[in-house]
Amino acid sequence: MNNNWHSDAYSKLGQSLNERHTDQLSTQLSVFQSALVNFAREHGEEIKQNSEFRNKFTQICQSVGIDPLDLLLYSGSVSKTSKSQSSKTQSDNYFISLAVRIVEVCQETRDINGGLIPLKELVSIIRENSYINIEVTESDVEKSLSTLNTLGKGYDILTIHDKKWLKFTSALGGSISNDQKKVYELCGFMGGYVTYRLLRDNYAWDKLRCKTVIDEMIMNGFLWVDSQGEGAEWQYWEPSWISS
């Protein structure tokens, strides 16, 4: 009995020591991380010019879990509105690194949404994924896309039902037809899905037209099928619902 009590007390003590240790370490880590961020802001120019210095700095960033791209975004976002010459390069950097992020997110989410993503969702993913708090706005994304499009078309902004979407076509080649747009528009009204009946009632499409559009959109990954809707009528859902 006594023995039991002792081992219990020891393990409790051990646990609390461990916890305290972890706490201290994570505080130290975050202090160090924010120091790095400040450092990058103050010595940005040097980091850029001296390649050896830059290599070392990038290594440190990676070892403490900061993506150097985040730093670039961060230092750029501060100066994106300013007009002086040095901050002009910084803000160029900002839009270029933002473009890299946009491409990353589009690639990562393509298997879920077929390459069509609401701008709002894109921005919130970019914000969530970065360690430092970066104020990315939708208009930043649009600006950044114009940089991307100089490398070849592939990223387009669409407006469907008052909502802006980013269409990422390089994977599928095709563009979005008017009918497909209308399907997404109706999804927006209906809280995420359409059915043949809804399409017929709203657009007076015949069955064949519905089937052609829907099947094509399923094939492209723009719609998910749901066979368990009310009244056994199949529903077709647009996947941005998952994260919105």
Binding site: W224, W237, I242
Partner: protein
């Protein structure tokens, strides 16, 4: 356990309950389901399930029937049918190697869910025996996972005996780190970890 497992948002996405015809989307759907199964099982420390996704064995002292249902979402009135259930488990078993039939000859017995792989289980077991200074000592199966005063760590407590034996046989014995001592009746009398 007081708080219920929080399912990720996608668990309330109605089409998740219908097998998707587009192959790329389907593989994504199966990945999502696999993640849900693994997180759910880890949360409730469930080490094996039936082929219908009903928990069979958990390390926790909970009423398994009271747990929220994995493949049925009453709020949106959707259920995973058995065809999709089979696809999900096949994905977990063959694609991700995160599950295994309890007995491949009798699939109806259910499957082990490896939110911790058997190699990881073996490592935990070995570390516990090592740290408690019991390497080379003959221990009973009971002492390895159940005993109150042998300092069994939380992670190993109440581990399913069948899984424990599997871990011993398929990992530790193969690595030459364990020996089983059999009784005359052919049962496992003790384990020596060295």
């Amino acid at each position: 356990m007081t708080t219920e497992f929080t399912f990720p948002k996608i668990h309330s996405f109605p089409p998740l309950y219908t097998k998707q015809p587009n192959a790329t989307i389907l593989s994504n759907q199966l990945d999502s389901w696999s993640q849900i199964v693994l997180q759910y099982c880890e949360y409730y420390k469930i080490t094996s399930m039936t082929l219908h996704g009903t928990p069979k064995v958990s390390q926790l002292d909970v009423n398994l029937e009271s747990l929220p249902s994995l493949f049925q979402n009453k709020t949106i009135n959707r259920t995973v049918n058995s065809d999709l259930q089979t696809s999900i488990f096949n994905h977990l078993i063959h694609k991700l190697n995160k599950a295994e039939y309890i007995n491949p000859k009798k699939p109806d017995l259910g499957i082990y869910i490896y939110w911790r792989t058997i190699v990881e289980w073996a490592q935990l077991l070995y570390d516990f025996v090592d740290k408690s200074g019991q390497l080379g000592t003959v221990l009973t199966l009971y002492e390895l996972t159940k005993s109150e005063d042998s300092g069994v760590p939380e992670s190993l407590r109440n581990l399913d005996e069948a899984l424990l034996i599997k871990v011993l046989k398929e990992v530790l014995i193969k690595q030459g780190k364990a020996q089983l001592l059999m009784t005359e009746e052919g049962e496992i009398g003790g384990v020596k970890i060295v």
